[in-house]
């Protein structure tokens, strides 16, 4: 009787050991798929070349696209959104490069911009901010 119980217990333990590997492997593969989806996430992205008087319009597009796709639930998403909306950011000495009274109606709307990958979206946002910093005294 004791021998039978012992054998059943051994078989049960072996089955557990063998079963744990497929579960973990599946989970990791699931993570890879979700990551791939996120990398291929396409978002309306302003162009590389933005005219001086269309920079504020582009900034608005960046901000709203971030809100749409990432929300502001996270700590850094919320902080970034607030910073992009700050009065200092949108001021003349910030990202408002328009020195003339040229109308901004010629600037493209956000939905008209072609969709790009998330990496390209963030690269172009970074370039816009760097452009603003290089102009400030």
């Amino acid at each position: 009787m004791k021998l039978i119980v012992f054998c059943l217990f051994t078989i049960y333990c072996c089955s557990l050991v063998k079963a744990s590997y497929p579960m973990e492997r599946k989970k990791l593969q699931e993570v890879l798929r979700e990551l791939k989806m996120l990398k291929q996430l396409m978002m309306n992205t302003p162009p590389k070349d933005i005219e001086d008087c269309c920079c504020l319009t582009a900034l608005t597009c960046f901000r709203e696209t971030l809100l749409q796709h990432f929300g502001i639930s996270g700590k850094y998403q919320k902080k970034l959104y607030k910073s992009l909306n700050h009065t200092l950011t949108v001021s003349t000495f910030g990202l408002n490069f328009c020195n003339t009274e040229t109308s901004t109606t010629n600037c493209s709307t956000c939905h008209s911009h072609p969709k790009e990958k998330a990496s390209e979206f963030f690269n172009r946002l970074e370039s816009l901010v760097q452009r603003g910093l290089s102009r400030i005294n």
Partner: protein
Amino acid sequence: MMPTRLLLLLCLIGPVFAIEAPDVDCLIINLKNVSCTWNKKGTPKVNYTFYSSFFNKKEKSCPQYLTENNMNIGCIQPCESGDRFMTFNTRLVHGKDRFKETHGLKNRVKLNPPTNLTVLNGSDFNLWFYWNHTSPAHLHCVESEVRFRTNNNNWEFSKVSPEIQKYCINSPSGSSRYELQVRNRIVEGCGLSDFWSDWSEPVFWGSNSSIDSDSVPLWMTLLYVVGAITLILLVVMLLQRERLKIILIPAVPKPSPILHDIEDWFQLSKGLKENFKASYNEQVCPVREYNYVSQSDSMNSDDSTSSVSTNQTHCSVSIDVNDPEDLYVPLSSSSSQVPSEEVLQVSD
């Protein structure tokens, strides 16, 4: 049939004789000029005409060509500091051949090396180096890197934060020679440059007086010479003068396993040794205890017993007493008679 075959032959051979598309490589120099070259694969075989434009600006032909063996290999033209954030379009034309390319020049920037590098000995006894940069970039967009060495040893590198155009070497050595150079680039916040500038012209401070620093002062040299002469004289004197040698370096007695007379260990003269030998004998002197006896007791005792005799051979010891009439005489083994009014009883 013949024209068809000829056409087919031309289509196959044509690409072999086609001109390879030149690869245009552009770089922004000091945020003031754009320099483009197309000789990466070798000197071109034809002279191209170069046209370029930044986004939303009018296309221009090249104002100044770079040549090699009378062939155009590049073009340099002015630009504005903010143009690097825009797409740069280039076009090479030769006859019917047109090669178009687009470039992103935000990071392809190389600044000129810093200028006016000067050195000052500060009031805090530190060495201060100052420099300027000639690009239109704002100070907060430019970071520097310093390298210096002492007496032509290995270089030491140090980064300098943006907006700072000075460097300090603490407590420099007066006997060392310092050499310092600076270079700079655009910081990440303003679009990081892919290239550092060239090193600036070096600046020097101090003198390479390593010989002076190792030299011994004159008084120490004289001291060494005098000391050496004294030592030599002492050695000579020790070798020549045996007496001096014995005084300064006395001989150490060698212990021998064979026991000798201890008197031989001392180097004494013969007369002194003779005097140490004993020439008389001393008899042993017995010591006796004397008891005091009063006069009344002596009167009651027998006269025969009261007489005492002393042996002259025996030693006697006189002891001071309070009564001068008291006499102390040993009773036993005495041969001489000593008159006394009081007799002491002696116990052996």
